[in-house]
Amino acid sequence: MAVNDRLVTQKNKNGLQTTNEMQLTKKDFPWWMVAIGLLIVITFLLIRIKPDFKDAFNIIRAGMSVTISTTLIAFTIATMLGLFIGLGRVSESIFWRNASTIYVEIIRGIPLLVLIFFIALVLIPGLTNLLSALGTVLIDVGMGSFGVKLAAIENKSISMNVRAIISLAITYAAFSAEVFRAGIQSIDKGQMEAARSQGMSRWQAMRYVILPQAIRNILPALGNDLISMLKDSSLVSILAVRDITQVARLYAGHSFKFAQAYSILCVLYLTLTLVLSLCMKVIERKLGNERK
């Protein structure tokens, strides 16, 4: 209603139809952020004044470093792997194109939770068995020094934390591969032609002309991936990795303080994602200014 009033007054003042109707998104004060901020502040106040909240917070807080490090390490690996697979998607070679498409389609077709189980409990044990078997073979053919090292690899020598990181990285690599592919394809093909016409190889053109422009375009999408990965990192609690979700679950389980444990858990995730999305906004604004 208020918006309508403003449109009408504008029309009357100018006698012209200079309305903001064409402007699809209105820039208004971020009340939503204030509301969420308030929610976070209230929770932290509760933690300060109520001992049961304080206890819960102090215990759950211990999982923070695992959650953050798992997310950051997995995201870094996923982005590098995703760039590689994304380049495969736009490769000139029919083999690499299909290989990377198979990867992306398989990963996208399986729920994350199931993938975490599969990678951590089937794929990685399978690979370690394979490697140690290979080591035994190497010892037999006389390449002892290297063989002994391989043969010593045991399934249990790879911790659940590492498996969690590998699972998240493998999964999110498929998502970021699609982001990279879309980013590369969003660049006008004249850019590649201009670079090639100057004598650059396809790879040089990709490296110096296409990718710098593509990455600038996809930063917001990559940021979204980082935020979803932070949230999805809660799934690694099923591997008994002691992230904030797992710690909160354990605490709630034996203390029966479900309300305290899970509301603190919610607010912790909310704080992290809010901080990340604010960082993204700052980066986006910076890039936007630079381009102008």
């Binding site: 006008d188 004249g190 850019q191 032609e193 201009a194 670079a195 090639r196 016409s197 100057q198 004598g199 650059m200 190889s201 040089q204 110096y208 002309v209 710098p212 422009q213 600038r216 381009r291 102008k292």
Partner: protein
């Protein structure tokens, strides 16, 4: 003597199809050093495709292209070397949007010609002076007008010291008042004796600058002649019809 008589670009019975569409059909031509060849024709006549086969941006379906005596199909592994000797200017400029004007020019110098940064910068400045926009050296392409962008694109191509320059409708995407500044730069190159192949709709420029004019229609060369003869006494009916339509206004 034989060195001078060798064509810079030679095409033998060249055809290019896209699926069932035959864009270029059996074209043969020669461009000698210092010669300016202008290709005109209605849209869809295959003139851009023909130009793009000259540096292998399009691979011909049949026939052969020789650049400076080298067969392109036999030298596919050296195509990057060959291309670095062929400058190309595009209709949509295709400047690298993330780089400044100077960086646009120095990029290929540095990674293709392995030049030092300072040396490449000097060359960039010299070329920018030549096309008359040295004052925009640190701007980004998006801050420049179309005419300025196209002049940067020409400077970028010239910096590689090409033996031949290809122009693919260099003024077609420009506002009318900016066409002249680009044509002036091209005229300058003609005076300097640059070997050039130009696809264009600018008949005045063709008349003034060309050594030879080729008229293409339906993927074939319909007529070729010196510009005076071509514009004053075209021999083919199709050419007359095209010229009368284009020169009517």
């Amino acid at each position: 003597m034989s060195e001078n008589n060798r064509p810079m670009i030679e095409m033998e019975n060249l055809s290019k199809s896209f699926g069932t569409l035959e864009a270029v059909h059996g074209v043969s031509l020669k461009v000698y050093p210092k010669q300016v060849l202008v290709i005109i024709g209605p849209s869809g006549s295959g003139k851009s495709t023909l130009l793009r086969t000259m540096n292998w941006l399009e691979q011909p379906s049949e026939g052969e292209v020789y650049v400076d005596g080298k067969s392109l199909s036999e030298n596919q592994h050296h195509i990057n070397d060959i291309r670095s000797n062929i400058g190309m200017v595009f209709q949509n400029f295709n400047l690298y949007g993330h780089l400044t004007v100077t960086e646009n020019i120095t990029l290929a110098l540095r990674i293709v010609k392995k030049m030092k940064k300072e040396e490449a910068k000097k060359i960039a400045m010299r070329q920018l002076m030549k096309v008359g926009i040295a004052d925009k050296a640190d701007r980004y392409p998006s801050e420049l007008s179309g005419g300025q962008q196209q002049r940067v694109a020409i400077a970028r191509a010239l910096a590689m010291e090409p033996k031949v320059m290809l122009f693919d409708e260099p003024t077609s995407a420009l506002d009318p008042e900016m066409i002249k500044e680009v044509l002036d730069v091209m005229q300058l190159l003609v005076k300097e004796g640059m070997t050039m192949v130009i696809v264009t709709h600018e008949m005045g420029f063709a008349k003034a600058a060309a050594d030879e004019v080729i008229f293409m229609d339906m993927g074939k060369i319909v007529e070729r002649a010196a510009p005076e003869e071509f514009f004053e006494h075209p021999s083919c009916e199709r050419t007359k019809q095209f010229l009368s339509q284009i020169l009517k206004h």
